[in-house]
C-alpha cells in the first residue's frame, strides 16, 4: 500500500515537472529564431471591435487608430497639394452606410532638412468619428482607412488597412 502510494506520488511529481518543462522544449521546437525582418505596419486599427447603435438613425462611432513609433501619416488636411490625405470609407453593400467622417486636427511638423516646409500629420494615436447608418441586424463592417506614412527621412507608398467593426443595430 505504501509502495503504491509512493509510486503514485512519483508519477504525479513527474507529470507536474514535465508540464512545467514543456514550454522550454516548445521554445526549441518552435521555428521562430528571433525578430522578424518584416516591417511593422505603420498604422493599425485599435478599437472598437463591436458597437451597438440604433437602426435607421445616424450614429457616431469613434474609431481609434495607432501610428507606429517614429512615423507619421498625413492628416486629412495635409497643407501641401501633393500630399495624400488620410481618409476613411465604408464599402457599399455591407448593410451600413457611412454618412460622414470627422477627422482630428493634425499637428504641424517640419522635416529637419526643410524647416520651412510645414506638413500636418497624425502620430501616436488618432480617432476618426464615423457617422454610420445601419439597417437592423448584425453587420461586420470592414471600413477602409487610406493613408500615406513617412518618418523624418523616407516615405512608404500609400496603403490601406481594414477597420473591422461588428455593428449591432436594433
Amino acid at each position: 500500500m505504501i509502495r503504491l502510494k509512493l509510486h503514485i506520488e512519483i508519477a504525479i511529481a513527474t507529470v507536474l515537472i514535465a508540464v512545467y518543462t514543456l514550454p522550454a522544449l516548445a521554445q526549441f521546437i518552435g521555428n521562430s529564431p528571433g525578430r522578424s525582418l518584416q516591417k511593422a505596419p505603420p498604422v493599425r486599427f485599435v478599437y472598437p471591435e463591436q458597437v451597438h447603435i440604433s437602426a435607421g438613425k445616424p450614429a457616431a462611432v469613434a474609431l481609434h487608430f495607432r501610428v507606429a513609433e517614429g512615423m507619421h501619416v498625413n492628416s486629412h488636411t495635409p497643407r501641401e497639394d501633393f500630399l495624400i490625405p488620410t481618409t476613411f470609407s465604408i464599402p457599399a453593400g455591407e448593410g451600413v452606410r457611412l454618412e460622414s467622417a470627422s477627422y482630428p486636427v493634425g499637428s504641424d511638423i517640419s522635416l529637419p532638412s526643410a524647416p520651412k516646409m510645414k506638413i500636418n500629420v497624425y502620430s501616436d494615436e488618432f480617432t476618426v468619428e464615423a457617422r454610420m447608418m445601419a439597417a437592423p441586424g448584425n453587420h461586420l463592417v470592414k471600413g477602409v482607412l487610406h493613408f500615406q506614412a513617412c518618418n523624418e527621412t523616407q516615405c512608404l507608398p500609400p496603403q490601406t488597412i481594414t477597420a473591422a467593426v461588428d455593428v449591432v443595430a436594433k
Partner: protein, 208 residues
C-alpha cells in the same frame, strides 16, 4: 531514491532544453546576419562608423530597364552606357523627395558636363496601376506639373514600380542608385540624406 533519480533526470532534460534553445538562437542569429550581409539593409560604414544603407546591387551591374518619359517616349538605362548615372526613385506624394529635388537639380547641372545624368523614376505606389487609367493619367499630370514647377532638367520616367523588384524591391522613397560609366552600381542611398552625401556618390560614379 527513485524519486530523486526521476527529479534529477527531469531537471537534466530542462537544462538541456535551455542550452539547446540558446544554441539554436545563436545559430539563427548568425544565419540572419549572413543573410543581411548578402541582401540590402543598413550596416555601419567601415570608414565613418555611421549607419548607412547597403544595397545588394553594389558592385554589380545595374539591372537594365526601359520606361516611358513624360513625352511617352521609351528611355532605356543601356542608352546611358559611358555616362555616370543616378537612378532616383521618387514620388510626387513624398515630402523628403521634394526636399532633395533642388539638390538633385543643382548637382545634375554641375556634373552633366563631366558625363553625368540623372534619371528621375517616378514610383506611383500600390494605389495606381496601369489598369486604372483614370488614376494613371492623373498621376502623370501630377508628375508633369511637379517637373515643370521644379524645372527638372533631367528625364522623368513613369512606372517605377515596374522595375522595383530588380532593384531590391524599392519601397521606401527616396532611394537612389549610383551607376558608373561601365554600368556598375557603386553606391546606393535610401531616405533623405544630404546634398554633400549625394555629391560624394556622384563623384564616386564619375571616378570608377
Amino acid at each position: 531514491m527513485i524519486v530523486l533519480f526521476a527529479v534529477l533526470f527531469i531537471l537534466a532534460i530542462f537544462a538541456w532544453a535551455g542550452w539547446a534553445n540558446w544554441e539554436y538562437r545563436q545559430q539563427a542569429a548568425k544565419r540572419e546576419a549572413a543573410t543581411m550581409a548578402a541582401s540590402s539593409g543598413f550596416a555601419a560604414d567601415p570608414d565613418t562608423g555611421t549607419v548607412v544603407f547597403h544595397s545588394a546591387l553594389t558592385g554589380k551591374p545595374a539591372p537594365d530597364f526601359t520606361l516611358k518619359n513624360l513625352q511617352d517616349q521609351p528611355v532605356s538605362l543601356a542608352s546611358y552606357r559611358g555616362k555616370a548615372v543616378m537612378i532616383n526613385f521618387w514620388a510626387t506624394w513624398c515630402a523628403p523627395c521634394k526636399v532633395e529635388t533642388p539638390w538633385l537639380v543643382e548637382l545634375r547641372n554641375k556634373y552633366a558636363p563631366q558625363g553625368f545624368e540623372l534619371l528621375g523614376v517616378s514610383s506611383q505606389g500600390d494605389d495606381v496601376t496601369p489598369k486604372d487609367k483614370t488614376a494613371w493619367d492623373k498621376d502623370k499630370v501630377d508628375i508633369a506639373k511637379f517637373a515643370q514647377q521644379e524645372k527638372l532638367p533631367y528625364p522623368v520616367l513613369l512606372g517605377g514600380d515596374g522595375i522595383s523588384k530588380p532593384y531590391g524591391g524599392v519601397e521606401d522613397l527616396p532611394t537612389s542608385f549610383f551607376v558608373n560609366r561601365k554600368g556598375v552600381v557603386v553606391a546606393a542611398v535610401m531616405g533623405l540624406t544630404s546634398q554633400s552625401e549625394l555629391e560624394r556618390d556622384i563623384q564616386k560614379a564619375l571616378q570608377d
